[in-house]
């Protein structure tokens, strides 16, 4: 409740003071009686004590006019008696002071309260600036923009956005720098590490099934074209053929289209160099794909046929390798 509900006598007190002595009504809020904050006797006693001489008659009615929210009392008074004589002036002056008050709050509010206030105030300022700019825009047509820009192009090239050559140059320089540093800006910088017991399944071999040195890889692997297994007696890591994939669905991040490209190899598995050498493809692995069908050409004019891509899904769950091309 936004206000403290005053006890029953103060109702009367208030009512008595407010009303002119032409008669008054008081009502008992049923709720009050039920709540039993005071009994009817008490109420009457209270009433008698307070205004003994003036007490003419008590009209009990169960309307809610005397026990109502504070604003309503104010409204009721205004309806009956009109506004205070100085009401409008006081209102105007209070609103004028509002600006100074806000400024004072802004300057003195400290801590988190101050920050939140400042944020709200800035948002208001930005909005105000925008509306002002909008109003300042005139609807009358003005002359065409007179600035002479650099990079003149003939009329047939004007509506076309041609990639500027400067951009291409700086890109190659950046690429060279990155390659030197050995750092690549990958879409998935961090991946969940895969534990060894999740990656490998222990295979028991031997006549009594006691030997436990073989492991089967439970994740998707990539083996090259000329892959031949080691003699089964000696192979420690088993790569099931059902989990071997050769193609990956590679998405070009700028063109936003996906191609089904052949894989050339596994470049780096974030879980460790052992997995890289085994050819395990998990989420976050950098693979090399054959992009000759994309028709990419270096600025020198050579055709690019291999590019790196990073795997974005868990291939062992989905049954396919989805990757994003690293451009």
């Amino acid at each position: 409740m936004g206000y403290k509900e005053p006890p029953a006598f103060s109702y009367f007190g208030l009512g008595f003071r407010r009303l002119s002595f032409s008669g008054f009504r008081f009502s008992i809020d049923r709720g009050v009686a039920e709540r039993g904050s005071c009994s009817l006797k008490q109420l009457l006693r209270g009433c008698v004590c307070f205004n003994g001489s003036q007490f003419q008659s008590i009209v009990l009615c169960l309307s809610s006019t005397s026990i109502m929210p504070q604003g309503d009392y104010i409204e009721l008074h205004r309806k009956r008696n009109g506004y205070r004589p100085d009401h409008f002036e006081r209102k105007r002056k209070k609103e004028a002071r509002e600006v100074h008050k806000r400024s004072q709050v802004a300057q003195t509010a400290l801590g988190i309260k101050g920050k939140m206030f400042a944020k709200k105030r800035y948002a208001e300022k930005a909005l105000m600036k925008k509306t002002l700019a909008m109003h300042e825009e005139s609807s009358s047509r003005r002359k065409v923009d007179d600035d002479v820009h650099e990079g003149a192009v003939p009329a047939y090239l004007l509506d076309r956005d041609a990639t500027t050559r400067a951009k291409v140059l700086s890109n190659t320089v950046k690429q060279k720098r990155k390659e030197k540093a050995g750092k690549w800006d990958v879409p998935l910088p961090k991946v969940r590490p895969v534990a060894e017991d999740e990656m490998f399944k222990v295979i028991r071999t031997g006549k009594r099934k006691t030997k436990q040195w073989k492991r089967m890889i439970t994740k998707v692997t990539f083996v090259g074209q000329g892959f031949t297994r080691k003699p089964p007696k000696y192979e420690r890591f088993i790569r099931p053929s059902g989990l071997r994939f050769t193609k990956a669905h590679v998405t070009h991040p700028e063109l936003k289209c996906t191609f089904n490209l052949e894989m050339i190899g596994v470049k780096k598995n974030p879980n460790g160099p052992m997995y890289t050498s085994l050819g395990v493809v998990t989420k976050g692995t950098i693979i090399e794909v054959n992009v000759s069908e994309l028709g990419l050409v270096t600025p020198a004019g050579k055709v690019v046929w291999g590019k790196y891509a990073q795997v974005t899904n868990n291939p062992e769950n989905d049954g396919c390798i989805n990757a994003v091309l690293l451009v």
Partner: protein
């Protein structure tokens, strides 16, 4: 031995039934037996006689679109054409004069401080003008190959320039939508800036000399979607042709008095010029119409001037001469229009006959940036961003040959006045001259330091001018 020789000689003397026909298909004379030893010279004599030509005009002969260069017998043998059927030999008149291919850069003239955006020779080939991104139009002296005048006055890049067919006026349009008329002999503006367009000018085309002389009216197209007809003497816009919903990319004033406008809203509109009413709308393209070309364009551009370099004294004389040239070139066939578009295809239209295209010319793998009819109207050349220039038959629209050699998008092309050589300028900073007869590269002209934006071959065939992003104007000579 003798019998064998006899047999051989008999084979060689075997006759073939031939029918001469002109490019449009109408036969010339009756079909006749021709010995197989006949070659182009004999055929030329025959055609000249049948046509009753006073002077011996050169012709080229084609059998099913392949040019006949060797003896008829060898040709038939090679192509294994059956001698049972009548062989149709199509003859095409060639220009009497022969233009030498340009092969060296005679001078590199600096002067512009920003990229050169457009280059144009005057119709008589005596003057050269160029517009650039530094807001000036410069006139160059061809004899000394040095700058002549610098015309300032524009407020933004000068995108298009156009000479009037009588060579007396030069109009330039800029990126701020205003036009300026210049007097080429003094280099001074002929009046104030002509305003009216709200966005940049994409094309300017003068009214042909045979329709009105002295040349007064020209039409301009702009990005704001309308084309305006201006009067150079009244110095104001007389008619506004509005109707296109998107930018108008090119405009051409046809020889029969119609104006053709191509726009980014994929349509071509045909307007009549007295009141500016829309006559036809040619729909068919799937994307922006980038460029238009008319079969009589070269003749309209050069007006009364031709390779004989005759000077005319009065405008009436010029009008008569221009009309004569125009009629000679046009013949009986209706005017043809070809349009190149962003949807990688071109359409061949006959706008006065029907609103449906005559042929659809497909084959390019990138947008077509510039199309140009050869001066005799027999060929169409198209330059595309797929680094190739393609040659098509100018009458039927059939594909003839592709010229590959550029390593960047080809921006502009230009024909030599005798229709035997084709020049192309590209983004890879080279110009290449292609031979139409052998369908091979004739000359490679490297030398520009940056993209080549504009090329032009002078109507008298002596010089080629090219300008581009490296801000210099290069003149090439044979």
């Amino acid at each position: 031995m003798e019998a064998e020789v006899g047999e051989e000689s008999r084979e060689l003397n075997n006759n073939v039934m031939c029918q001469l026909a002109d490019p449009e298909g109408t036969p010339l004379g009756a079909s006749m037996y021709l010995p197989q030893s006949v070659g182009t010279k004999e055929l030329q004599q025959m055609v000249n006689k049948l046509l009753n030509n006073e002077e011996k005009l050169p012709y080229a002969f084609y059998i099913s679109d392949q040019e006949l260069v060797v003896q008829l017998g060898d040709y038939l043998h090679k192509k294994k054409v059956s001698v049972e059927k009548v062989v149709t030999i199509v003859y095409q008149p060639q220009a009497v004069f022969r233009i030498r291919p340009v092969n060296r850069c005679s001078s590199t003239i600096a002067g512009h401080t920003e990229a050169v955006l457009s280059v144009a020779f005057s119709p008589d080939g005596q003057q050269l003008a160029s517009g650039s991104g530094d807001t000036t139009v410069r006139l160059w002296d061809l004899n000394t190959q040095t700058p002549l005048f610098t015309c300032t006055g524009h407020k933004n890049w000068v995108l298009c320039i156009a000479w009037s067919p009588d060579g007396k006026h030069l109009v330039s349009g800029s990126k701020s939508g205003e036009l300026q008329c210049w007097d080429p002999l003094t280099g001074r503006p002929s009046g104030n800036l002509l305003t009216g367009h709200k966005k940049w000018i994409t094309g300017i085309s003068w009214e042909p000399a045979h329709l009105s002389s002295p040349c007064r009216r020209f039409v301009t197209s702009s990005k704001d979607g309308d084309a305006r007809i201006w009067d150079a003497t009244l110095r104001k816009s007389v008619i506004c042709l509005s109707g296109h919903t998107l930018a108008v990319t090119c405009v051409k004033w046809g020889g029969d008095g119609f104006i053709y406008t191509g726009s980014q809203d994929c349509t071509i509109k045909v307007w009549e010029t007295t009141q500016g009413k829309l006559i036809r709308e040619l729909k068919g393209h799937g994307h922006w119409v980038n460029t238009l070309a008319l079969s009589t364009e070269y003749v309209l551009r050069t007006g009364a001037f031709d390779h004989t370099r005759k000077q005319y004294s009065s405008p009436d004389e010029m009008k008569k001469a221009a009309l004569e040239r125009y009629n000679n070139m046009k013949g009986n066939a209706p005017e043809r229009l070809v349009s190149g578009s962003d949807d990688f295809t071109m359409f061949l239209w006959e706008p006065s006959v029907s609103k449906h295209p005559k042929t659809r010319m497909t084959g390019h793998q990138q947008l077509v940036n510039h199309v140009y009819f050869s001066p005799d109207g027999q060929w169409i050349a198209s330059a595309s961003f797929d680094k190739s220039v393609k040659l098509w038959n100018g009458i039927t629209g059939k594909f003839v040959a592709a010229f590959r050699g550029h390593v960047g998008p080809v921006y502009q092309i230009s024909w030599s006045a005798d229709s035997r050589l084709l020049l192309s300028g590209s983004k890879d900073s080279t110009l290449k001259v292609w031979d139409v007869r052998t369908q091979k590269l004739k000359q490679d002209l490297p030398g520009h330091a940056d993209e080549v934006f504009a090329v032009d071959w002078s109507p008298d065939g002596e010089k080629v001018a090219s300008g581009g992003r490296d801000r210099v104007l290069k003149l090439w000579m044979g």
